[in-house]
Amino acid sequence: MKRYSAFAVAREALRYHTGWERAWRSPEPKRRYDVIIVGAGGHGLATAYFLGKNFGITNVAVLEKGWLGGGNTGRNTTIIRSNYLQDPSAAIYEKARSLYETMSQDLNYNVMFSPRGVIMLAQTEHEVRGYKRTAHANALQGVQTEWIEPARVKELVPIINLEGPRYPVLGGLWQERGGTARHDAVAWGYARACSAMGMDIIQKCEVTGVRSENGRVVGVDTTKGAIDCDKLGMVVAGNCSHLSEMAGFRLPVESVALQALVSEPIKPCMDVVVMANTVHGYMSQSDKGEMVIGGGTDGFNNYTQRGSFHHIEETVRALNETFPMVSRLKMLRQWGGIVDVTGDRSPLISKTPVDNIFVNAGWGTGGFKAIPGSGWAMAELMATGHSPLAEEFSMMRFKEGKFIDESVAAGVAH
């Protein structure tokens, strides 16, 4: 693999860009791999990457039914933060956030990580108390975050209307080191690094069956034939129940649509990310100038990657109150992804009832920010059978009543 550098750009400019090579190989599958990862989204690719980087396991295939990064990883609004309430969440999201800081250098791929700061608005008394509590918890967890008053919110976000008709802004939880990154680049950067380590990333290869013998996985059936493996990682987000059914067990997950939309590009007007959980809307401005907008999920099980129009309307209505300028914007595109929501709204990084099958799912509406931390923990779990970061995210927690209840505690979302 040729490295990307300022020198490479200059060299290629001089020879009409004829020297760039493909970022990753597209091989046909081998008969057998030590490890198969199903799903070439951010979490699957990061898992493969850290299997190679941290444990020297490189006889790995990543199987993807569509194109890599075409699932939720390429559909999300890219908000990155780590100021969650519960200890296990704060630990893994903060690990991920800190890995994002050096990801471009580590991968030699520009993922455009932009730590521009994230504000979560408090618009009810309940949220004020909740966020102050989170700020204190974060202080103990070593996660940088602070409570800010309305005047400071206005300073950071001049386009905001503090005196909204229904929900005035009472303050906010501010994480200065949060921000955004380029979602495709995260998938592409990991794919390139995995391919360079000799791993096979096989696109247009859907897993259609999981084979096991004596309670232990032996391989998968795919649209490109049967492939054997010692260990199998299922990292397919909204499709996780479908895959676990092939392996003969159920998951505590339901799949629903989550949508987002972007406006026409406008001049720079907001250089932080703002989330408003009470009214269900959040917004940031992309480098191209588009306002990137998201809201809440639809209420019913859905695999179509299309959502209901009235949710878009609700989201935009909510944002209109808080950012009156939004009412003048034309929206350009709207899309949906199928998100995997667990009983306590926290993810699963877990062993399963079948030996050597591991599952990483349940990131729901907020897993982009977790990609490097999740891959780190999942690789450790798959390589060694144990990972401190993943421990509390075992699917056994539902049996033991050890929930990681972020939905009630932190006011959900991204």
């Binding site: 159920r250 505590p252 009235h310």
Partner: protein
């Protein structure tokens, strides 16, 4: 836009009139059941790619709960039926079999 006919008041209600209530025909387990049963009842879900039976409430209408049979891959609605049943009625099952011969749902089919 999802449209479901309320089996009680007969109104063809569109989504904003309805509240989704999740997977239907869960067998309830409480005191005296095993940990396994209680856990499965509370948290494990079919979440199928295909035929799904689910509960809905005609929230901004007659207010009553009812059942719907729907495909999660196409959003096709096979029919709605009363809440007073522990499994989908035969005519709904037949209708689904016509369109999706290989459908399954727990131990119903």
């Amino acid at each position: 836009m999802l449209i479901l006919e309320c089996p009680y008041c007969g109104v063809k209600a569109e989504e904003t009139e309805l509240a989704a209530g999740g997977e239907a025909h869960l067998k309830r387990f409480g005191p005296g059941s095993s940990d396994e049963e209680f856990h499965d009842y509370l948290f494990m879900r079919e979440n199928p790619k295909g035929v799904h039976f689910e509960r809905w409430r005609h929230a901004n209408g007659c207010g009553k709960w009812f059942h719907a049979a729907r495909c999660t891959m196409t959003l096709e609605v096979f029919g709605t039926y009363s809440a007073q049943t522990t499994e989908p009625p035969k005519e709904i099952q037949d209708k689904i079999s016509e369109k999706r011969p290989n459908w399954t749902w727990r131990d119903v089919k």
